[in-house]
Structures are given as C-alpha cells and as structure tokens.
Symmetry: C2
Subunit: 316 residues, 2 copies
Amino acid sequence: MTSNSEILTLDAIQAAARRIAPFVQKTPIVALTPTGIGLKAESLHPIGAFKIRGAFNALLSLSEAERRRGVVAHSSGNHAQAVAYAAKTLGIQCAVVMPENVSHVKLAATKSWGAEVFLVKPAERVSKCESLARERGAVIIEPFDSLAIMAGTGTIGLEILKQRPDVRFVTVPVSGGGLIGGLSAAVTQSAPEVAVIGVEPVLANDAEQSFRKGEIVRLSTEEAGRTMADGLRVPQLGRLPFANIRRFVRDIVSVTEDEIASAMRLIAAEARLIAEPSGAVALAGALKLGLDAPSTVAVLSGGNVKPAFYASIIAA
Amino acid sequence: MTSNSEILTLDAIQAAARRIAPFVQKTPIVALTPTGIGLKAESLHPIGAFKIRGAFNALLSLSEAERRRGVVAHSSGNHAQAVAYAAKTLGIQCAVVMPENVSHVKLAATKSWGAEVFLVKPAERVSKCESLARERGAVIIEPFDSLAIMAGTGTIGLEILKQRPDVRFVTVPVSGGGLIGGLSAAVTQSAPEVAVIGVEPVLANDAEQSFRKGEIVRLSTEEAGRTMADGLRVPQLGRLPFANIRRFVRDIVSVTEDEIASAMRLIAAEARLIAEPSGAVALAGALKLGLDAPSTVAVLSGGNVKPAFYASIIAA
C-alpha cells in the first residue's frame, strides 16, 4: 500500500520551481530532425545534467543550522557534481562519496566544484556516506529517494507542458527513480492524458521488473554494472520514487546497448547535442515504441561522457 | 565611401525578427563551464545552423509572383540547407548549387528537405546559379551579400542583448560576412559599448586583411579551401557585409587550425554541444584574446560535421 505522504504533490513541485528559478535556467526542447521528436536538453545545465534541479531544491530547503554543518552525498557521478555545484554556489561545505569505477570526467568535474571526494567500492557508497554524516554532523543529500529531490526533478515536467502544450508522450530514463518519479508526478497530475513512459537498459532493468511485479526488484551491483549507461547502474528503485512511479507512470520499457548507441549517434547528427549513454536511453525507448512525432518528448538527462569513448560510439 | 543605402538599419532587423518569429525558435545561450563564457547555440536550429534566419527573412520578403517562380541558391552547405528547409516549410520550389567537395552530411541534409541539388566545381557556383535563375525565372537567394539575409542574421544580435544584458564582447565567425554584418549592425546600433569582434581561420583570413586595408581582399578559392572550417571558405567578403563590418565591427582576428580543434573539444566537454569547425572559431578567437568571463558571448554558428571527422577531433 502506498500512503499519501509518499506522493509528491503539484504544490510541492510548483514551490520547487519558484525556489530554484534564480539558480537553474530553463532548458530548451530541441527538435530532432526530420521527425520533430523533442529532446528536453537537460545536458545544457552548467553541470551537464538534470541533477542540478534536485540538488538546488534540497539545499535551498535546509535550515540555517543545517547549512552551517554542511552536506554529504553519494553518487555515480551527476548527482555528486550537482550537489557540489549547488553547495559551492550557496556557500555550503560539501563532501561526496563516489564509486571507484566512476568516469574520470565526472570525478574531475566534481572536484572542480570544490567538493571533498571519497572513492569507495560501489557497494560501500551508502555506508561511507552515513559514517561521514555521523562524524561531521552533516546532512545527507539523497540522490533520489527524497521528496525534495523529486520535487526538483518534477520541474522538468512543468516546463515540458508549457513548452509543448500538444505533447502526448514523455519518455524518461530510469535509475533510482528520482527523475521519473518527480517528472511523472508533475505531468500526470497536471495533464492526465499525457503518458509518461520509463526507459531502462535491458542490462539493468530492475525498474521494468519492479513495475510489472508491483514490488521493488533488486539486481546485484555486478548485474546493474554491465550497461554502458553509467548513470543507470543503481540496482534498485528508491521507496519514494517507486510509490510515485506506480501511481503516475504509464509503462516502463527497456532497450539494448546497441539501441542506446544508435540513439547517441542520432542525437549527435540530428540535434547536434552530446548525450551520455544514460541521456540517450529515453530517445532509444521512444523509437523502439514507434513514437516519432512532434507529440513525443524524450528527456535527454545528461551529457557527461569520456571524449574517447564518445568518439568511439560516434565513429561506429 | 559607404553609401547609407548599404547600411542595415535597426528597423529592418526588428522587422525581420517579427517576420521570422513564427518559424524560427530563439536559441539558448549555453554557459561554458567553468568560466561562464556564453555560447549562442545557433547549432540547435532544425538545420543545425544560423542560416535559417536569413533564409526565412529573404523568402518571407518575396512577392507572391516571385514565390510562384521558385528560388535558387548556392552555398558550401549550411545556406543551402537553410533555403531548402525554409522553402519546403513555405511551399516554394527550390534548387541549390553546391561545390562538389561539400560534406556528405550537408549534401544529404539539403536533399532531405526536398531541394533539387546541382554539384559543380567551387569556382563555378555563382555562374551555375545565375544560369539556373535565367532558365527558370527563379529568384536567387544570395548566401550573404544581401540586406534581407543580414537583417535575418541581425536577429541573433537582438537576442544576445536581451539574454545577456551585461554582455561586453561578442565574437563571431566571418565567411562572406553576412553573419557578422547583420549581427554587428544590430548590436552596435543598440548598444555601442559592446564590442563585436570577427574571427577567421588564419588559412582563410581575407576579412582580417580587408578590415586592416580598408578594401576587400580576395583569396584564391584554393587558398581559402585549406582550412578545415568548410563554412568559412568563401574567398572574399560581400560588398554589403563589408560596408556594415567597416561601420560596426571593432576588430577581426584569426585563429589556427589547432586552436579551432581545441575549441571544438572544449565546447564538447564543457557545454555538451557539437560544433562544426566553423562553429567553434568564435570561441577560439575569444580565448585567444583572453576574453573568458561571462561578459563574453561567442556565436556557435553551426553543428553540421561528418561523424568520423568529428570523432577524430574529439578523441585527439
């Protein structure tokens, strides 16, 4: 059973939109030629990913006393950058725990925003984060299992409805569920006729399995680590995201690694945007479902990718 | 001597802005982290280049009789795509003359917009275009030597001033001069304190030479063809662009091929945007001049580039 306190309200999302407006620019929807599918280009934020929205909303919701004690976060990459960037902007101390297999690009960027970084084995991220929080009295900024984070990501949904009033389908990558949880709460409560559809790599399709089964399915970190979509390697949905996904998401589908690579090439050639694999997943899902009209918007969640790896995909 | 009829008025640019508004989306200024230099992302138009603005303004300025007779254009690529795209949108017949060494990407895209394409030696573009116009009674849509085209590109300048009221420097690629001619007329007449600076490849620096000498300097097509910036291989400035450049541009500088490649990599890594070499030239110029603050905007003019070539630059 889902309790109502787990459901994200439109009011909370609208409040987040007002809170983050001075710090987070609206992102454009770029038309993918020639079909006209819209790409909501969250890759164009200063840190190259949508995570900046949740991070600002969470930090701006802290009390003065909490701000003074600082924050800690754990993340496979983009959330870390986002919290570090937002903390620096707002003058808050920040420590970040990252898995040791994190991409060099994301590691370097996180450090460049002034955060103190701890590298640990992927399975130890949460425990290390908790011990740091205890030692320092710092607040943990959850990557996705948080209503404040989801209210921040929900603002993407409000923008899409304003920018494309005729939208009928929104496809969204799924990892821990913070992005789709917040976005689907925003879209479905504002415009129930719009279908929000989650997309995952076949190699890390715990959310698709969870959605079908009606309960959270957990993969091993090794299983979930097989996909090249490094932003989508979280092995299970968060509790709060899952509650919102069950209520507000129409369906969840999965795509192969080849389909992700094709989508990256298409985004480069037809929209001149750089998508990381996790960022191309939503377009891959839209194409797999045959959604190729201007009434479809795919969320391009981020563009942080190693140059050599990106070049190898593009040249293929 | 420049006659006043050669100078582009603010009125003409504002009229163009109203005329093209239903067809051309405003482009975002994307902040290049960590400096905050703005990239005016003209690569995000459906055809991947700023040329869409001039093309729509020119076609929308035709009489009904002219529209019925159709249009012809010659171009190294992006102008062809733009005229083809605008003509298709407005239901006008369109033929395009392209140099036989044009990139496959630009050729395929132009054909995909329904234009009839003629490939000729680079030096024969103009004559072929004129003979087609005579045979068909069609109107020639000039790529740059036209006040209608420059009024269209001038709208970029109006947008920059609105989006970044604190801007102090705008760097702009120079080819035939249509982009910088229109943009500088818009910016300098609205905000004389803002310096508009042209940037060219060292290997095709006819505009820099012309600016210093006070008269149009012509390179051979072979000389101008040496740069990898295929959009900037026009061997001399147009007469009308030069008149506006002399009046409204602060300076013109040139950059090496290596500096262009570095700027392409930086744009990929720090703004997640794909820039063709011609599109990266303005950022290369800004960095060469030490303009690396948020008060600088570099015009990223286009993102149409062969995937394999782009990959080779990015992986370097």
